[in-house]
């Protein structure tokens, strides 16, 4: 990496020679080392999205095209108007590299960061969701260590701040063994008034800049440039770059911030995350069209003797920057005093459009306010990997095992088995909003007290599908996560994404990113889902083993259920009722759990998404919901519909008798039909009397709906009408293997 210098002091920066020259030309003087450090951080991939921006620009403009979108990409979080004067803010972010080095604090500070992003939209954080990815747990102490402490880090931080963790997912794959993926999502709820009081820009000259929260220390310096490199053996030495979280201080900051906003004297608000003060101050003034003069000596530090470089680049946690109207300064400070949150007035905004930072009489930073936020973009090369053709041509072997055994293996596999071990450690009920408990619905479901509205939220992605076809894989992820929300009775309102990919400097890695973005873009435009935010985490590679992660464009969808009577849950309710399979089952087993669990294969042709079919299915479900026909719903996902049906049976100890003789196409083998992962399918429970009506509506909509069986009070699943003999599955036994996989691996 190149070195820059100023008066004999030297600094290694992650900037290209071209960027260095641009900066020198812009300033027409040698930048100070502090300024170099600020450019270095602000132009890092993590802060500037320099590789991803050209691609992300292709997304439909959410704020322009959807009247209920109040804030879209570019803000700290997406915000949507949900009626009755309320708005929701939500965002998803990665904390992959810190968690791979120090899982407990890495995950905890990930939660801390995402909470701040929501808080600085002026609303109260009310829910967390965490999509996690690790190497397989079996015989792998390193993966077990990461998994255990990531979950504990999330639990300790989330539980202490009083924000329920209402959902998430865990995927295990060899490619995440050293570079685990820890994504964190948060939802905030507030009034539209609250939101309007907290723009993340300082647009008014003469306002006070108040720094509140934790003190500025030497931790996390250069955390950002570290997140924009791949993981090497040297990373162990980067441990000091991982920040330490303090959930108690965070809780005080949440309460103090919300109370400060309610005073009406806050004019702008920004959290200090990646890039610390450099990032916050330059974005506040740069985006607000103002400038500022900040006195460095006012910034309270954790230890004496910190220089301007360290102070401006520190990523110490739990800090917020407030822009306060002059007449309300004392009122706002009084709130901070009540909560005993440390705070200091560090400067004022002005109309200079220049960001100036003073150390005594000397200006250590004197930069055009927009210079830091206008990072250059880089057009990266893309190349489809050569290995794909071979992978896509892999066929499903003839099964050598009995189908019963395969089903048992699937339910007990790490990716499909119950995640109760995880969610028991999360307080998922604090806030008295959680209406559907973890494990009982496809998505987390929260009531909005004082209204008859409910928030449904889900996260997910299938990296195995994306690895084989990132374009279809990204669409599949959308279909799955939207499906979760729809299965709960909600209408998907908006999407945010967290793009976890490999090194963008490698054309193959960039190809994956680029195709996944295309997939999201096409799907969301057709299905009319606004993309209101995103986070890009590149450089997820492990240089020790020379492997890139499987691509993971993780999707988060937030939806709304109007009225308690319209909530749908997952468990089957009544024996004698019909079981319907909605959506077409195709020979799509590429990247399936069946391939990986039974044969150790990663290839085959993954599911392809036809937007028109998906659209028709969703419309049909909406009609069935209006007619109150659906008693239970669960989307078909990993492992195929036998997994779905088993999960629906468990809660109320019901069983099912399935007859596939009429519905299974002749050209599909039994195993291919049972374990296909074709997207956009659902399993419904309905009253037999409603079947005629369902058939009628399905014919109009041209949606495949097949009656595949009847619920029974006997806890077993019998499958008839196969090419081979009938099968019988003991659900009590199946449930035991479903529930015991993770406890067995983690507790012994």
């Amino acid at each position: 990496m190149p070195r820059v210098e100023n008066k004999g002091d030297e600094l290694t920066v992650d900037l290209t020679e071209k960027e260095i020259k641009q900066i020198q030309d812009l300033l027409k003087r040698p930048p100070s080392l502090t300024e170099w450090g600020m450019f270095d951080v602000m132009h890092s991939e993590h802060c500037s999205y320099k590789s991803s921006r050209p691609k992300l620009k292709t997304f439909e403009n959410a704020e322009e095209n959807y009247d209920y979108v109040l804030a879209g990409p570019g803000e700290d979080a997406g915000v949507i108007d949900i009626g009755d004067g309320y708005c929701l803010a939500f965002r998803i972010e990665s904390h992959n590299h810190p968690s791979a080095i120090e899982p407990y604090h890495g995950a905890a500070t990930g939660i801390g960061g995402i909470i701040r992003d929501i808080l600085c939209m002026g609303v109260r954080p009310i829910a967390l969701l965490d999509p996690l990815r690790f190497g397989p747990l079996k015989n792998n102490p390193h993966s077990q260590w990461l998994f255990k402490y990531v979950v504990k880090g999330i639990a300790d931080y989330g539980n202490c701040t009083g924000i329920p963790t209402i959902g998430g997912e865990v995927e295990f794959d060899k490619s995440f063994e050293n570079n685990c993926l820890v994504n964190v999502a948060c939802i905030g709820l507030g009034t539209i008034e609250d939101f309007k009081h907290a723009p993340s820009r300082a647009y008014n000259p003469g306002d006070y800049i108040v720094l509140m929260g934790g003190s500025t220390g030497r931790d996390g310096i250069h955390g950002v440039t570290f997140a924009s490199r791949t993981l090497t053996e040297m990373s162990e030495a980067d441990r000091p770059a991982v920040q330490i979280g303090d959930p108690f201080t965070k809780k005080m900051i949440i309460e103090a911030t919300i109370e400060a906003i309610k005073t009406g004297y806050v004019r702008g608000l920004k959290d200090l995350g990646g890039g610390g003060l450099s990032c916050a101050l330059s974005e506040l003034t740069g985006d607000g069209g103002t400038g500022a003069l900040v006195d460095m000596s006012k910034i309270f530090t954790r230890e004496p003797g910190m220089n301007s470089f360290e102070i401006m680049l520190s990523e110490s946690q739990e800090r917020m920057a407030f822009i306060v109207k002059p007449e309300g300064l004392e009122t706002v400070l009084e709130v901070f005093r009540k909560y005993e949150t440390p705070h200091a007035v560090i400067g004022r905004t002005d109309d200079s459009k220049v960001l100036k930072i003073r150390d005594g009489e000397k200006l250590v930073v004197n930069l055009p306010a927009t210079a830091l936020s206008d990072a250059p973009t880089i057009i990266r090369e893309e190349k489809r990997p050569d290995y794909l053709d071979n992978l896509l041509n892999q066929n499903t072997p003839e099964p050598s095992l009995e189908l019963e055994d395969i089903i048992n293996q699937l339910l007990a596999s790490e990716n499909i088995c119950s995640k109760e071990w995880v969610y028991r450690q999360y307080d998922h009920e604090v806030g008295v909003r959680s209406v559907v408990k973890c494990g009982e619905g496809d998505s987390g479901l929260l009531r909005i007290i004082g209204t008859n509205k409910f928030i449904a939220a889900s996260v997910g992605c299938n990296s195995k599908h994306c690895y084989l076809d990132p374009y279809e894989g990204a669409k599949s992820a959308l279909v799955e996560v939207c499906g979760n929300v729809i299965a709960s009775g909600a209408k998907p309102m908006a999407m945010v994404n967290c793009c976890n990919f490999g090194n963008p400097e490698k054309p193959v890695s960039y190809w994956y990113f680029s195709k996944a973005v295309d997939g999201m873009n096409d799907f969301c435009r057709t299905l009319r889902i606004p993309i209101v935010g995103g986070n890009v985490s590149l450089y997820n590679e492990d240089e020790v083993s020379n492997t890139a992660i499987k691509p993971a464009p993780v999707i988060m969808i937030v939806g709304i259920v109007e009225g308690q009577e319209n909530i749908i849950t997952l468990p089957f309710k009544q024996d004698g009722n019909y079981i319907l399979l909605v959506g077409e089952t195709k020979k799509e087993l590429g990247g399936s759990e069946y391939h990986s669990v039974v044969y150790g294969l990663e290839g085959g042709v993954p599911p392809k998404i036809e937007e028109e079919e998906i659209k028709a299915t969703w419309e049909l479900l909406e009609q069935l919901y209006i007619s109150k026909i659906v008693k239970a719903n669960h989307d078909v996902n990993r492992g195929g519909f036998m997994v779905t049906i088993s999960e629906m049976c468990f809660k109320n100890n019901l069983g099912a008798v399935l007859d596939l003789s009429e519905i299974k196409p002749k050209d599909i083998r039994d195993d291919q039909f049972l374990f296909s992962e074709s997207g956009g399918r659902f399993i419904l429970e309905i009253d037999p009397d409603d079947y005629v009506e369902v058939e009628r509506l399905a014919t109009i909509k041209k949606v495949y709906v097949q009656k595949i069986g009847v619920l029974s009070s006997n806890p077993q699943i019998i499958v008839k009408g196969l090419k081979t003999k009938d099968i019988t599955i003991n659900l009590n036994k199946l449930k035991k293997s479903y529930q015991s996989t993770i406890p067995k691996l983690m507790e012994t």
Binding site: M252, E429, G431
Partner: protein, 236 residues
């Protein structure tokens, strides 16, 4: 008469707003959220110490809050016989402040646990259980990392009827399987000798609305309805 209840907000309380919601909107009793160093006992007929992580619980659960000025005010209330309930972290604070006997240790699983459990009512004479039926089973959630009840004087507690709740199965049997955290003798809640102060690990405020209960129960309301009954009896 107008009953006025204080819900004490310590730095780090996080079930304070939930408790406020249930008392004010579900039970319909005038409840005020009071910052811990502004609490004046003389203005209230009873008080609730809500759940959460007071002062982050970094040192030991409840120990720092037990030294808050609010506790000295509450002690006057306690001596005067007015009702005080500590829920979860509130229970931990009340044992640390020695309003209640025993201590809450780390769960035997060494993990935080959040789930719905059953508790059996052992004493219906307290300020918070007088509307319950002896030996009935309540459905109520827990969410804690340090909820393992311990006391060196179990016999004394039993002799004095200070065990108020035990973790049980659905039919009220006290079994090892129904003990979620390793509590001594499955103890989930206790009271003081005078029975006007109760502490428990489960969360009544999360069990007071049918929409939040997996089985539609509202057993949590009984705690607060008992408190109202107790206050009314005291006054009359």
């Amino acid at each position: 008469m107008t009953i006025k209840i204080a819900c004490i907000q310590f730095p780090g309380s996080n079930c304070d707003l939930d408790t406020m919601h249930v008392l004010n909107n579900v039970i319909g009793i005038e409840t005020h959220l009071i910052w811990h160093n502004q609490f004046k006992e003389s203005e209230f007929d009873g008080c609730v110490l809500p759940g959460g992580f007071s002062f982050g619980d970094y040192l030991r659960s409840g120990i720092i809050a037990a030294h808050s000025p609010a506790i000295e005010e509450a002690r006057v209330m306690l001596k005067d016989g007015r009702p005080i309930i500590g829920i979860c972290n509130g229970f931990q604070i009340l044992t640390e402040a020695q309003f209640l006997p025993g201590a809450l240790l780390g769960n035997d699983s060494l993990k935080f646990v959040c789930k719905w459990v059953n508790i059996k009512v052992e004493n219906t004479n307290t300020a918070f259980t007088n509307k319950m039926i002896t030996s009935s089973v309540l459905k109520i959630p827990i969410a804690h990392g340090e909820g393992r009840y311990f006391s060196e004087n179990l016999k004394e507690l039993e002799d004095n009827d200070q065990v108020v709740f035990r973790y049980s199965n659905e039919s009220g049997e006290i079994t090892n399987e129904s003990n979620p955290n390793g509590s001594l003798d499955n103890i989930a809640g206790v009271c003081n000798l005078e029975q006007n102060c109760v502490g428990l690990m489960p969360h009544p405020e999360r069990a007071s609305e049918s929409i939040l209960s997996p089985t539609g129960t509202t057993h949590g309301r009984l705690f607060f309805e008992s408190m109202i009954e107790f206050i009314k009896r005291r006054v009359s």
